[in-house]
Symmetry: C2
Subunit: 342 residues, 2 copies
């Protein structure tokens, strides 16, 4: 049995979305239990579809707003649903916490309550992007760290490897995001990270492919792409923006004239199959890696389907003992990470 602590108040829609997702999730996963964390009045009436025998409501009096500064979330709202959910992981009552709340607050509270693993300086946010091969590319960091050293990038590569390996992929390949494939490209941090990653690969800690470029994210050249949180965040958001623009163009073109509306009706099965393939909701659920406990982050605007994917990812990570895997890989590689090349 795996127990998930769910911040039911987080995200743009709160319990309306999170509880519906919880109900669907429990139906699909007989081995899961849920701690539903939130304001008692908001959780007083649970959906009928929710298997009550596998749910426990854990009260929290406050809610972290999507625009609360980190300081407010961390210092003032000490009984927030986000914090109480993470506290369940710390106490051992749950194996993983899931929230659709404010990313900055979630990372700060998780770091404060759970602390980082030995050998990890900075936790990172890892998520999946679809690729042309029909698989997914795992990218980290997506915004937790604006400035990264070469050692941080190595740590991200090790954590990303554990994450993808936990999903069953043997020796997943790691690419270092750069502006060219050649070893001499990039700034000093990137070049030094390349040296560390090659050394880690020789040591058997990970499977380093080499430098990759922006387009490789979507080609599916490697399983894992490592970058600093500034670049990762910009690329993630730019990709969301571009996909949304293209989706808007498709809708506009197919509704422009009576003929295009007719064409849309004829092409409907094809268009929905296409839409399903690029449905970003399927990729929802980012892992906060490098902490002494598992925490997953859902997109704030997630609907029930998307939030359920985040729950599913969190469940699988806990089930495959992701925390222990990360810990072991970091420990095995720690002497490497500490010795910076001159």
């Amino acid at each position: 049995m795996i127990t998930l602590a769910v911040d039911c108040m987080g995200g743009d829609h709160g319990p309306a979305v999170t509880l519906a997702a919880c109900a669907a999730f429990l139906t699909r996963n007989p081995q899961a239990r849920l701690l539903l964390v939130g304001q008692p009045q908001a959780l007083a009436r649970l959906p009928a579809a929710l298997d009550a025998s596998r749910c426990t409501v854990v009260p929290a009096t406050e809610v972290v707003a999507m625009d609360d500064p980190v300081e407010v979330a961390l210092r003032r709202k000490r009984d927030s649903s986000m914090r109480v959910a993470i506290a369940q992981v710390k106490s051992g009552a749950a194996q993983v916490a899931v929230s659709a709340g404010n990313t900055g607050a979630l990372m700060a509270i998780a770091r404060y309550l759970l602390k980082t693993l030995d050998g990890i300086d900075r936790p990172a946010i890892a998520s999946q992007m679809p690729n042309a091969k029909g698989t997914a590319t795992t990218v980290l960091d997506l915004g937790a760290n604006v400035d990264c050293s070469a050692e941080h990038l190595l740590q991200f590569a090790l954590m990303g490897t554990s994450l993808v390996a936990a999903s069953g992929k043997v020796a997943p390949t790691v690419g270092l995001l750069n502006i060219g494939e050649e070893v001499i490209k990039g700034n000093e941090v990137i070049k030094q990270a390349g040296v560390l990653l090659r050394r880690a690969a020789e040591h058997g800690d990970l499977n380093f492919y080499g430098n990759v470029e922006g387009n490789d994210l979507f080609k599916g050249t490697v399983d894992i792409v490592v970058c600093d949180g500034f670049v990762g965040n910009v690329v993630l958001k730019a990709s969301e923006g571009l996909a949304s623009m293209i989706g808007g163009f498709v809708r506009e073109e197919f509704s422009r004239t009576w003929y295009s509306q007719l064409a849309a009706a004829v092409a409907w099965p094809v268009l929905s199959s296409f839409k399903n393939r690029v449905d970003h909701r399927r990729y929802n659920g980012a892992a906060l890696l490098g902490l002494r406990g598992l925490v997953f982050k859902s997109h704030g605007s997630a609907d029930a389907f998307a939030f359920e994917q985040a729950l599913q990812r969190a469940f699988e990570a806990a089930d495959k003992q992701l925390l222990q895997r990360v810990q072991e890989r970091i420990a095995a590689a720690a002497p490497l990470a500490l010795s910076v090349p001159e």
Copy 2:
């Protein structure tokens, strides 16, 4: 009359593409003349469609290959078509040079021959991306500079403003690419650049909007987005990769079964109108800004239609006296750019 020096040998396809583009370009622009730079044997037989009265062949014995290291292009191939084309700008024989060759080599040769403008430390590469508003977002730097200081980002903003203003847009808005809209977001360089940009806006040198995020590139929130060359290059290539993946998915879905092929036939006019809208060839032609002469870069894989767009952009920049505009704006703002906030 505006004279363009065209590196006819550059790009993946060489004269087959560049000469066809030149013919179409001259037909559309009666006020243009061309210096066709390349190996005499390759340019011995010009297409019949090319108006010979407005073309002069300028011989060059060598060609910079797409994978030539910068050192080879710069030091060994001193009579390359790329270099001779840029030399025409230096000598005043042409007002602008256009090449589809290797970006690194083009920037290095342009910088070596033309030198940078007073007040500019680093030239930058600026190009357009389509946005949801149906206009274009100008982004710089796209890869010339992997590490940038706050002053460099201010210089990019000033040059980008001149570029977009030359196309007729009054007081174009400038956004600073960041991982959040709040002033406190980002690393030290970004925060300091924000201070410089606000100060330049108060001084009337540009129209600063504030921080923008990755998705704003495609929303069309601002006219100009400023970022370092590492981030710009990664975002540009990731966007190309994503667009190409989505295009591939559309093709796959519409050819999967007999029904989807039928739907494709019915939807053909709609699909081609959509394709035209996201056609990246229309946005071909990047400006190398900050040099004492105008140089434009075409995508290496450009076809004749795409290369013609790059010629058109180069022609318009020369026609609108972009060089002088950049020079004047930088000179007016120079005292600002030199005083770094503490």
